[in-house]
């Protein structure tokens, strides 16, 4: 085991080349997703066995059109390839290109080749060669590009074994750059550059001076040299321009002899689909239908497994109590840990369904058409067509959605998108909505087909989007930021989505959610349980106090227990916390118990339901552990004698959860992505005021 040799492989390619399919074929389920240190770009790594003694550690780098980055994700590709001393520096690079867009794809290849790292070229989707009338002379192409080429089709599992054996022999690969581009741009200038950094490959030095970022691995003298070269910005831009033109010339020359397309075989399916999907009317109709279908999935189909999960965990709780010996730890498991885990597991169906839809839309190439359709409209609100994807992703979770906004090139558009994303109804709000709606809205049908509860849910979604749009308009007026526009999107060819890719994507994202947010929710459930079942002196003397109080009256044993339990909760640590904030939340119609749930919601909104479940569970006599909904419904407001969760309180809570910025995770990510505390604080305060005011208004008008 320990004498196994590990080859480090970096997988690079344009978006839409099937790079991820190649990655999945090489590594199977032996993947792990982590974050790069310090930043939140996903790092996908996997292990692939090459032979008995050698295995490859494969890193799937973010898709990029060029080595010159235009976004944070792409910066990572450059960073990985420039710093030789970093642990992630590859022994060999695999550049994946796609047969149909080979010309553009090769631009990245020629750039990478110039870094003098062993490079393998994988031409993917060769199964479509015949149908598209394409012919390649591999031998000649290999010769012209000084590389080893592997023809592959990740979907049909062609060429993967050959790729593995090519990786194994990476030391034999030729590392000479192609075409002496630097000489052809300006020989004198590049000789000067070469002499300035004799230890680096020339192209690496050129990249160092063309980028705006600092590079940690440079010495102080090297840094100074870089800065002097950077002074002549006009010259750098001109040379970059020239470099790109020259690279395309070389690529055209290479392809002229070794690659040809019989145009008569080309079909116009793409054109037909484009005309329909981006049509003035049908385009929007189709998009609206797709959205409806997605929401149908999240609300309707997901409820069946969710109800099952809810009941199963309620049963598990009671079961634990009967099986384990009585004691504090058993109580912790039954009242803290089991409901805590249940609170996480219950999300799996919705998240999995949403991610399935989103990855299908991305895989097919339809997402780019949505961006194209929506760009002009979104710009009226100060956003970009590219904001649509983050806003849709926001219905799952704001955190990945905010990260997905990175490819919006214009800073103002991106900032507005980031700021309004938390208004979209994320799945963490769903359980809160679901339980409140079930409590206050009757399960009736309207006009025969529509369900009143479903309609309320729909209305809350619309409310979230409306709030997002209005705040975007407001921000667009208020924010004074001028930024250069950078809006170029590729309209990829339509593809049938690969089930394997979608499966991996969904598994991975769901796993990331469970182990990321899940751990926090579980930890908070434990702390909450502890705070609710312990307290200062009054708590400890609860039995005696109650016994003294009711000496005169006759009570059954069960009623006595109940009284003790609620007295205990009131005088537990969390009871005191809830009482402290009660004056503030009273105008919204909440008591201290709801206050506790509000406080704990700041870790993650969905904790609300779990927190109430824990509170009412502790409150109840221990024999009776019904579902969360039954317990909440039984709760009575002692002042009015009415149900605690009546219509005005319910609506007030719904509005509060729709508007308030209650997620520490989101605030942290906004801080990281905007590099300033200003924006997350603006969100917290702005959304908080809106939530409070609307909840107070709603409660007072309705009651």
């Amino acid at each position: 085991m320990s004498n196994e040799k590990v080859v480090k492989v970096a997988l690079i390619g344009n978006p839409n080349t099937g790079k991820t399919s190649i990655f999945n074929q090489l590594t199977g389920l032996k993947q792990k997703v982590g974050n790069y240190p310090g930043i939140t770009v996903e790092k996908k790594q996997g292990i692939c066995k090459l032979s008995h003694t050698v295995k490859a550690e494969i890193t799937d780098l973010p898709g990029t059109y060029s080595i010159n980055p235009t976004s944070l994700d792409e910066t990572l590709v450059l960073d990985t390839l420039l710093d030789e001393k970093k642990s992630g520096f590859p022994d060999v690079i695999i550049v994946v290109v796609e047969i149909e867009n080979i010309k553009r794809n090769l631009l990245l290849f020629t750039q990478i080749k110039d870094l003098k790292i062993p490079t393998i070229l994988v031409i993917n989707m060769i199964d479509q060669m015949k149908r598209k009338g394409i012919n390649i002379d591999v031998k000649q192409l290999e010769e012209k590009l000084n590389t080893k080429i592997v023809l592959a089709s990740a979907r049909k599992n062609i060429g993967i074994e050959e790729l593995k054996s090519t990786i194994l022999e990476y030391k034999k690969l030729d590392v000479t750059p192609i075409g002496k581009i630097t000489d052809r741009i300006d020989k004198e200038y590049f000789t000067r550059l070469k002499n300035a950094f004799p230890e680096f490959p020339l192209y690496k030095s050129w990249l160092l001076i063309t980028q705006n970022n600092e590079f940690d691995f440079l010495t102080n003298e090297q840094r100074k040299l870089v800065l002097t070269f950077r002074e002549d910005l006009g010259c750098i831009k001109r040379y970059q321009h020239k470099e790109t033109i020259l690279r395309y010339q070389i690529i055209n020359d290479v392809l002229k002899e070794s690659f040809n397309v019989d145009k008569s075989k080309a079909s116009d399916l793409r054109g037909i689909l484009d005309r329909v999907l981006t049509h003035k009317i049908f385009g929007y109709v189709i998009f609206a239908l797709i959205l409806l279908f997605i929401f149908q999935g999240i609300f309707d189909w997901a409820t069946y497994p969710m109800d099952l999960i809810d009941t199963a965990f309620a049963n598990l709780s009671s079961w634990v109590k009967t099986v384990l010996p009585a004691g504090t730890f058993t109580n912790l498991i039954a009242e803290g840990i089991v409901p805590g885990i249940g609170g996480v597991v219950i999300f799996i169906p919705q998240i999995a369904i949403l991610f399935t839809f989103i990855s299908i839309l991305e895989e097919t190439g339809y997402m780019s058409r949505v961006v194209f359709l929506m760009d002009k409209i979104m710009r009226k609100f100060g956003m970009s067509g590219k904001s649509v994807i983050p806003l849709i992703s926001g219905t799952a979770c704001a955190i990945p959605a905010i990260m997905a906004s990175r490819n919006i090139g214009n800073w103002k558009e991106r900032l507005i998108t980031i700021l309004v994303i938390p208004f979209t109804t994320c799945s963490a709000r769903l359980p809160v909505y679901a339980i409140l709606i079930a409590l206050i809205i009757p399960d009736q049908s309207v006009l025969g087909i529509l369900n009143l509860q479903g309609l309320t849910m729909m209305a809350l979604y619309l409310l979230g989007f409306t709030a997002a749009i209005f705040s975007a308009i407001l921000l667009n007026k208020v924010l004074k930021i001028e930024g250069k526009t950078l809006f170029v999107i590729e309209m990829p060819n339509y593809k049938i989505p690969s089930i394997k890719n979608i499966f991996y994507e969904v598994v991975e994202k769901t796993k990331a959610f469970i182990f990321g947010a899940g751990k926090i929710i579980l930890a908070i459930s434990i702390v909450l349980w502890f705070l609710a079942s312990n307290g200062p002196s009054k708590f400890k003397n609860a039995e005696e106090t109650i016994a003294a109080q009711i000496e005169s009256t006759q009570l059954s044993k069960g009623e006595l227990q109940k009284k003790v339990a609620s007295y205990k909760l009131e005088h537990s640590y969390i009871g005191y916390m809830g009482k402290t904030i009660e004056p503030v939340i009273k105008p919204m119609g909440y008591d201290w118990k709801i206050g506790i749930a509000l406080i704990s919601s700041f870790a993650a909104r969905e904790v609300f339901v779990g927190a109430l479940a824990t509170i009412y569970n502790v409150d109840n006599d221990s024999e009776n552990t019904g579902t969360i909904k039954q317990r909440m419904s039984a709760e009575v407001n002692p002042e009015t004698g009415e149900k605690r969760f009546n219509f005005p309180t319910g609506i007030s809570l719904l509005l509060f959860y729709a508007f308030a910025m209650q997620c520490v995770g989101t605030l942290a990510i906004v801080k990281r992505e905007t590099n300033s505390w200003k924006w997350p604080i603006l969100q917290l305060v702005g959304m908080g005021i809106l939530a409070y005011v609307s909840a107070v208004l709603a409660f007072n008008i309705l009651s």
């Binding site: 310090g38 944070l72 705006n212 004691g327 840990i337 930890a523 590099n675």
Partner: protein, 37 residues
């Protein structure tokens, strides 16, 4: 016995939360323009 286990679980939970929210050091934007990265 059960009490000890309970306190261990509680300690772990608090330790985890504190680590998660108060020791998130690192990062440092390397950005000089308005690109916001």
């Amino acid at each position: 016995m059960q009490d000890i286990l309970t306190y261990i679980a509680l300690g772990l939970a608090i330790g985890f939360l504190v680590k998660k929210y108060f020791f998130k050091t690192k990062k440092k934007g390397k950005c000089d323009s308005d690109c916001g990265c």
